[in-house]
Symmetry: C2
Subunit: 378 residues, 2 copies
Amino acid sequence: MAAHDIVPAGAPARLARDQVIVGDSIAEMARLPEKSVDLVFADPPYNLQLGGELKRPDESRVDAVDDAWDQFESFAAYDAFTRAWLLAARRVLKPNGTLFVIGSYHNIFRVGAALQDLGFWILNDIVWRKANPMPNFRGRRFTNAHETLIWAARDAGAKYTFNYEALKAGNDDVQMRSDWLFPLCTGQERLKDAAGRKLHPTQKPEALIARVLLSSTRPGDVVLDPFLGSGTTAAVARRLRRSFVGIEREEAYAEAARARIDAVEPLPEDALLAPPSAREAPRVAFSALVERGFVTPGVELTDAKGRFRAVVRADGTIALAHAAADRSVGSIHRMGALAQGAEACNGWTFWHVEEEGRLHPIDVLRARLRSEMGIAAE
Amino acid sequence: MAAHDIVPAGAPARLARDQVIVGDSIAEMARLPEKSVDLVFADPPYNLQLGGELKRPDESRVDAVDDAWDQFESFAAYDAFTRAWLLAARRVLKPNGTLFVIGSYHNIFRVGAALQDLGFWILNDIVWRKANPMPNFRGRRFTNAHETLIWAARDAGAKYTFNYEALKAGNDDVQMRSDWLFPLCTGQERLKDAAGRKLHPTQKPEALIARVLLSSTRPGDVVLDPFLGSGTTAAVARRLRRSFVGIEREEAYAEAARARIDAVEPLPEDALLAPPSAREAPRVAFSALVERGFVTPGVELTDAKGRFRAVVRADGTIALAHAAADRSVGSIHRMGALAQGAEACNGWTFWHVEEEGRLHPIDVLRARLRSEMGIAAE
DNA sequence: AAGATCTTTGAATCCATGT
DNA sequence: AACATGGATTCAAAGATCT
C-alpha cells in the first residue's frame, strides 16, 4: 500500500489516515471528524510585508518570499484568517491534543494572542535558533537569527503528551530547553524543481519537525498539518511511525509531497521505543504494598532524620505517632505533609523503613513490587 | 548633584532628566513633554489584576481559569492596560525613537500585537537565552529558558539609532544576532532587602540592559523606563552616560532604586567612544581628491583584476577606456556600474590606482585626505 | 586525490541625501 | 513629494571549480 491516499476536496468526512488533501485548510479541516487528531503542526503564512527588492553587498538579488499566499490586506484580515484556521484545528483536536505553530515576529504575536483568546493553553514558546541565518545585509538591524514556535494544549488542564524522559535522555540527561539550535534546510534535503530551483520557499528542516513530533506524540498518533507545503511534517511523521493528515492548497506542492512521503522508509519499531518513564509506570498504591506483604501493618515509618514517626495500618493508611486528633491518620503523603507542617509531601520518598539496621525510603519497596510484577519499565 | 531628583506625582510637566518618579506609569507619562525621549525600555507586569484578585497566568490556577470567557475578560483587561501605556509611551517618544519591551509567553504575544495595532514598526524580536534558567520541576514542559524582547520604532520608516559597527566590533567582528545569552541576575548584583530576601521578584541582569542601551542609544540620550522596579535601567543608563527617567508605583522600590543609582559611577567618557563608522564619516567627493592633488588628471584607474580601465578627468569625473559614447563619462560609481553592466557600484572600492607597482582602492586616497583634514573618524 | 578557493544561497518587513 | 544618485553593506554551509 502506498503511504497515502488522495482524497478529493468533496469527499465525505471520515478520518482516513496518511492522506494528502488538496484544498483550503479551513474548509478541509471542517470535513474531518472532530476530536480525531493528537497533534496539529502548523506553519501558516507569515504575512511578511516586504518593500522593494533586497540585494546583497555583492549586488546579487535576494530571492524573497513574495508569493501571493503570503499577502494579506491588513492585520485585521490576517487575524480573521488566523482565528478561522485555529478554530477549525481546535475542533479536530482530541481534548488532550496539542498544537504547534511556527512563525516570525511578523505574525507570531498575532497568532499567540489569538490562541489565548480562543481558549488554547500555551505550554511553551520555543525558539528555533538558526545556525546559518541570512545576515542583515544593510547593517540596520540585528541578524534575524531565529523563529518562534508556540506549543499549546487545546484546553487548560488537559493531560497532554510530553515525552519528558525521552527528551532528557537524548539531551545528555538534562531537561530539554525552550531554545533549539538547528541549521536551515539546505543541501540535499532541500527539494528542487525540474529547473533546479528550490521547490518551496520556506521548507523547514526535518530535524526541527522530528523534535516536535518526538516531544509531543507517540507512535501511532495522528498528526495534522493544515499547511503541508513540501510535506516535511508528513515525511517525518511517516519516518517516526506516526500517522498524518496533510492539507495543501497548491496541487504542485501536494504532488511533490506525495512523492516525498512515498520514498520514506519508517524507522524500525525498536528504534522508537520510549526510554523508561517513571511517569508512565503503573501506579502502585501503598495499600498494595501492605496487601502483598512488602510492609507489615504495625511497622513504624520515620523520616530520613528520625524526627517524625508513624505506624502503618492495615488499610494502607498511616497514623502519626504522638498525635491524637482524627486527622492524624491518612495517606503517606498527607501525613508526611502534616508532620512537617507543609502543604504537600511525596510520602514515597519522605517515609523510611528500617531493614537490617538501615533506613530505606518506602519507594524502594514500591520498586520491588513493580519489579516482581514485571512492570518496572514500560 | 545627586544622580536624580524626586518629582512628586503632582508636579508640572517638564522633562527633568535623571529622575525617579513615584506614581502610575500611564498618568506620569502623560505629564512628560511629548517627543522628548530617545528610548523606552519597558518590563511591564504580566499578571492580570482583576476584581482585587491577583491572578498569575501559570497552570497552578488551572481550576480557576478553565472558563474561556473568564480568560477573555482577563486578556481584555490586560490588553486595555497594554494599549494605554504603549500609547502614552508613543506620545513621549521622539519620532526617531525606539522602544524595547521584555516579556514571556504569558504576555508578550499580546504586547506584540498591540504594538503593531498602534502603528509601531517592529525592528526585531530578540531572545534572551538564560544561561541558568529555573528547571521545570514537574517535568511537564520544556525548561522555560528564555524571555523575549521586542524592539520597535515609533513609526515605519523612522531613522532610528542602531550602533551596528560597535555591536559587531564587540562580537568578534560578526554582526550581532537576535539571540542573546546572559545569566540571570544573581549573586552580588541581586538587590536584597533588610531581611536578606530578594528585593524585587524580576530584577533583570545589568548586562542585558547594557546591550539594549548600547545598541540603540548614544551617550546623552534620554531613556525612559515606565516600570522601573529596582532601577536596573536607570543604573545602567547612568553608568553608560545616558540620561534616564524612571517611573515606579511602589515607594519601596523607588527608594531602593534611588540609592542604587546614586552609587553608580559613570564610566569614563573615552570608554564609551563609538568605533569609526563609515556611515557617519564626513562626505568627501572624488573631485576633492583631484583638486587637492591626491589624484592627477589623466591617471588611469582599473578594477582589482585589471579587466576595466578608466581615465581621471580634471572635473572629478572619469572616462571609461575603449568606450566612445557620451555616457561613458561620469562619476566613479556610475562608470563602475556601467563597466560591469551592474545597476549600482561603489566606485570607492571598485576602482584602483597603481602606486609603486601595487594596486590600491581609491578609498585609500580618500582616507588620506580625511586624515589630512583631521576628520578621519568623527 | 586532496586541499584550496570561488560561487551560491537562505521566511528580510535592510539607506541617505540632495534636487 | 518623487526622483536620481552617492555609496555603504554579509555569515554559514554546501557545492562547484581550480590547484
